[in-house]
């Protein structure tokens, strides 16, 4: 295993651990805005993991997947924030 592969593998492990931490916050809550924030962090980490996978494989195919994840994550987080802003789910 070369230095390049092992360093990329370490980065992937760190990103997977970061996704687990965001998932823990997503499950723990305690309020809805915490969950939305954790979901936002989770998709950003997933996007970075896909990018890292593309670097490891040496193809630019994964770039498009990461772009789609980023755009859809932005739209979903903005929609959830607008839903919370409307005030229907306070109590």
């Amino acid at each position: 295993m070369t230095l390049f592969t092992s360093v990329i593998l370490a980065a992937q492990m760190l990103l997977g651990l970061a996704m687990l931490l965001a998932l823990a916050r997503l499950l723990a809550g305690p309020r809805a805005q915490d969950r939305v924030l954790a979901l936002d962090t989770l998709y950003v980490n997933a996007m970075l993991l896909v990018l890292t996978l593309g670097i490891r494989e040496g193809t630019t195919l994964y770039f498009d997947a990461a772009l789609v994840i980023g755009m859809l994550g932005f739209v979903s987080t903005a929609a959830l924030a607008k839903f919370l802003l409307r005030g229907e789910v306070i109590e």
């Binding site: 309020r31 670097i55 924030a81």
Partner: protein, 114 residues
């Protein structure tokens, strides 16, 4: 050589993303928790994309800069989403304190039930 540089750039970006998620898990109130993921998102994405640019430029021996698209996207996205989210959280806190009386005004630094 540039592959090693790219790998360490990616590792630094992954470290920032990890620290952002760690701060998201460990800090106490929501308004403190908003801060670490911003660092993880912007700096982590920037470093990973820089590593990707360096690696694919060296691999294909021509300038590969299409990662700029994701960089522009995340630079615009992160402040917009977090401002929307904090505005929503502020609105919810104010609405909850208006319905539940004055005691929730001090709940800025306390965990409160959902």
């Amino acid at each position: 050589m540039s592959a090693t540089v790219a790998a360490f750039l990616v590792l630094a970006g992954a470290l920032f993303a990890f620290l952002g998620s760690l701060g998201l898990l460990r800090l106490r109130t929501f308004y403190e928790r908003v801060h670490p993921p911003t660092m993880g998102t912007t700096l982590g994405t920037a470093l990973v994309l820089a590593g990707s640019i360096v690696y694919f430029t060296a691999l294909q021996s021509r300038p590969v800069i299409h990662e700029i698209v994701i960089a522009i996207l995340m630079t615009i996205n992160t402040p917009v989403t977090y401002m929307l989210l904090v505005g929503a959280a502020l609105h919810r806190d104010r609405a909850a304190s208006a319905t539940q009386g004055q005691r929730n005004l001090q709940s800025f630094d306390k965990r409160q039930p959902r």
